[in-house]
């Protein structure tokens, strides 16, 4: 076995691992970003210093967001004044709210209960209290 063979094996192993990293990440990203067709759209608006929500049927909520366990929800995220960031840590929902731009995120709550919603982008003096609550209710139907 010549010394160049060893080098080729070395290069091949590293390339194989890097290709695996790329393909695997691509597969997972595709799966995570694919919004289910039956997801209910909820408009989320961030403004100094609270969150407001609008359901598909026109119901509006402030600070508290009520959802049903087991359903899929797609968020359309808006900002009225400065940049905010919509974050539900327990469900890995984390997307910037940018004035003049609509961002999207989706999730499906699999546990009933109360979960914190917070702003994760410094947005002014009241940033620390720009919190909300996600209330996930059992599916009664």
């Amino acid at each position: 076995m010549g010394h160049d063979t060893v080098e080729w094996v070395f290069v091949a192993i590293v390339i194989a691992i890097l290709v695996y990293v790329g393909v695997d990440s691509w597969i997972v990203q595709k799966a995570v970003e694919e919004i289910p067709a039956d997801a209910e759209t909820i408009k989320v608006t961030g403004q100094q210093w609270f969150w407001s929500f609008e359901h598909e049927d026109g119901t509006q909520e402030k600070i508290e967001l009520h959802l049903i366990k087991g359903h899929a929800y797609k968020f359309e995220i808006y900002a009225k004044d400065v940049m905010h960031s919509f974050n539900i840590p327990d469900y890995v929902v984390f997307e910037d709210a940018v004035p003049g731009h609509v961002n999207h995120a989706w999730f499906s709550p699999d546990q009933a209960g109360k979960f914190p919603i917070q702003c994760r982008e410094y947005c002014g003096i009241g940033h620390y209290q720009m919190r909300g609550t996600l209330v996930v209710e059992e599916n009664k139907s």
Partner: protein, 102 residues
């Protein structure tokens, strides 16, 4: 030899990804019957652990190779007593060096 290496690499990648594809297909099948959605939290953490494994593997290969190189080609290694064909000068000072250069 290069073909063999290329085929081996492709095989390893394919084997590593096959299990995931099976899992994804199983999930798709479930979606139709039971209306289940993927668990983002689980997906993201699983990906994190897989990437960490890959990163540590690359790190181990690279640092392992460097450690081996330093050990193998150290001056005190008995295998290095005989100079290689690139080093073998009758008179070590008679090599061709550029005048005034490095």
């Amino acid at each position: 030899m290069k073909t063999l290496i290329a085929v081996s690499v492709i095989t390893v990648i394919a084997l590593a990804l096959v299990s995931q594809m099976h899992f994804a297909n199983a999930q798709l099948g479930q979606k139709v019957s039971e209306k289940q959605y993927i668990n983002l939290r689980a997906e993201v953490w699983n990906e994190f652990f897989r990437m960490t494994t890959a990163a540590f593997t690359v790190g181990a290969i690279v640092s392992g190779t460097m450690i081996w190189l330093v050990w193998r080609f150290r001056e005190s290694n008995p295998k290095n007593k005989t100079p290689t064909k690139w080093e073998k000068f009758d008179d070590p000072t008679s090599g061709t060096y550029e005048e005034g250069g490095h």
